[in-house]
Amino acid sequence: MSPAIVEVRNVSRRFAPTPSIGERIAGLFGAYVENRTVHAVDRVSLDIAPGEVLGLVGESGCGKSTLGRVIAGIHPPSDGEAFIHGEPVMGGSRRRVKTTTRVQMIFQDPFGSLDPRFRIGATIAEGPIAHGLIRRAEARAEVARWLSAVGLPADAADRFPHQFSGGQRQRIAIARALAMQPDILVCDEPVASLDVSIQAQIINLFLKLRRELNLTMLFISHDLGVIRHICDRVAIMYLGRIVELGRTEDIYTRPAHHYTRALLDSVPKLVTTGDDLVSFRPISGELPSPLAPPPGCHFHLRCPAADARCRSEAPDLRDLADGRRAACHHPLIDDRT
């Protein structure tokens, strides 16, 4: 594998609510104050190779968006570090700020991510001008270039977000990210809020941009069908940890982690033949609260293979056959050795 462009090293991200004044005083006097810290991302390490599309999959609350935001330099990590081209995404030591424009992010909701009072042209040109990537005089041509790259007419630049449909707004959000000429795009559920017939258009746009611009992408989604279609490798997250990492086809055909298999079994398949209704094998139980994840392997409460070791000892992400990594004491595929 070529040297990684994105390196995530032991990144954790915790969210703790600011204690109220009463709680702080109570704490000073030694009273018990409930710990409400959420470990959204728990010691995650991964690499993304140049030109690669890595899928990040998991259910709501598993920390996939938070990890994406750490890589995009929106949240500083609580521990560990994310690097791009070997440099930390966030500079500074006390007050951490994003120090690179090499990574850009695309959000799920194209209604919330565009300023309703900015014309499209101003929205797209704002970043590159502020960072000195282009001069103000070049802005118009530059905006037209990126609008055309995402399949919109140049005159869209003079209009406002409300004049566009959801699919078109997502194209504008993509153009805005591309105008910063990033090496890496972090896409957080970019097609989840779009209609089915529009989803295919945006997925095709990502495929085209990837071919033409050799973009590296982190593609976050809960839609296993979309992930399978556009990602080279996939990371599966569960309650803040990566439980499996490997080539897309391998994971879909031969999952190593019991959670991965259960997740794949839960997805409704499009059935077009046969009279019988397909049967699901749903995962039993519910996602535990991220405030109080179970000890040991986070999945052991719902896992058919769990034993005493799984209840006490958290499995590390380790190498298995065919370049796969999984965090499981009893994986479904063989060890490398």
């Binding site: 295919a200 997925i203 809960h222 259960a262 839960s266 499009l270 699901f280 996602l287």
Partner: protein, 324 residues
């Protein structure tokens, strides 16, 4: 059996807006047999939810049903006085909505608010109502239901709340439950649990379901018949396997072909060009014509429904004549 449970004929629902009249549902006709699961699919704005609301008479003024009829077991619901409609809702037809957090009252205990749904329709003792609530909660897969009656909605997860909403719909043993995207807001693992339970419920209780969804895969694993809506009209209807294996209408075909499951990984997906039309400025004739590769001059005229056996579609140039 004397005819279908629900017959909808020529249903039209309009909403006057400042910009003009939106005809959200246009001459929609279909039927539901007792105990059947009918899938109703379409994109946002296709009128699928408004169809569900219209059946229940839940259209708020100034919107109103301007034409057609909805008959439940032979009894006409359109034009029924509000009091009679209220007596019917919940007892004959119930509805489950997409967002369970908005369905439940946050300041009432689960057991109490569910009991209200029983007391609305019959006179029973509080203890009997409580027992029935616990029984129905067990039916939808809530473990240890009797002990959770005193919990508040915020103490339940999203999947559990949706189970409570489904249980509430089941309380008065309605003949039909309209489910409007009930699993869209849920995670796939929870969705699979709920789909499995709904299928068993429909089978065991004989309740018919109208399952409104934008997700063809979910519908294909649940329903026996499917209706596809576009711009307020039913454009295709038929037994689900037949429609999904050989859709007649180019829009239904386009929807199916655009799914990633239908393509080779990494290759471009088939896509339907353009976007759904504004309901304020519908094109004359077939509303799908501007996006349709098969459209020609004939499509300037509204296509009449073609019926072939169990199947029905509205198109001048359907794909390979479906066999029935």
């Amino acid at each position: 059996m004397s005819g279908p449970l629900l017959v909808v004929e020529g249903l039209t629902t309009e909403f006057p807006t400042r910009a003009g009249i939106v005809r959200a549902v246009r001459e929609v006709s279909f039927h539901v047999e007792a105990g059947e699961i009918l899938g109703l699919v379409g994109e946002s704005g296709s009128g699928k939810s408004v169809t569900g609301f219209s059946i229940l008479g839940l259209i708020d003024p100034p919107g109103r049903i301007t034409g057609g009829s909805v008959r439940l077991a032979g009894c006409e619901l359109v034009g029924l006085p509000a009091r009679d409609l209220r007596a019917m809702r919940g007892r004959e037809i119930a509805m489950v909505f997409q967002d369970p957090a908005a369905t439940l009252n946050p300041v009432l205990r689960i057991g109490d608010q569910m009991a209200l749904a029983i007391h609305a329709h019959e006179t029973v003792s509080a203890a009997a109502a409580r027992a029935r609530v616990a029984e129905v909660l067990t039916l939808v897969g809530i473990p240890d239901a009797a002990r959770r009656l005193d919990a508040y909605p915020h103490q339940f997860s999203g999947g559990m709340r949706q189970r409570v909403a489904i249980a509430t719909a089941l309380l008065n043993r309605p003949k039909l439950i309209i489910c409007d995207e009930p699993t869209t807001a849920l995670d796939v693992s929870v969705q699979a649990q709920i789909l499995t339970e709904m299928r068993a419920l429909a089978r065991d209780t004989g309740t018919a379901l109208i399952w409104i969804s934008h997700d063809l895969a979910t519908v294909s694993s649940l329903a026996s018949r499917i209706i596809v809506m576009y711009a307020g009209r039913v454009i295709e209807e038929g037994p689900i396997r037949q429609v999904l294996s050989a859709p007649g209408h180019p829009y239904a075909r386009g929807l199916l072909d655009s799914l990633p499951a239908k393509a080779v990984a990494g290759k471009d997906l088939m896509q339907i060009p353009g976007a759904p039309p504004s309901m304020l400025a519908l094109p004359p004739g077939c509303a799908f014509a501007p996006r349709c590769l098969r459209a020609d001059g004939a499509c300037d005229a509204e296509p009449a429904p073609t019926v072939a056996g169990d199947r029905r579609w509205r198109c001048h140039h359907p794909h390979a004549e479906p066999t029935s």
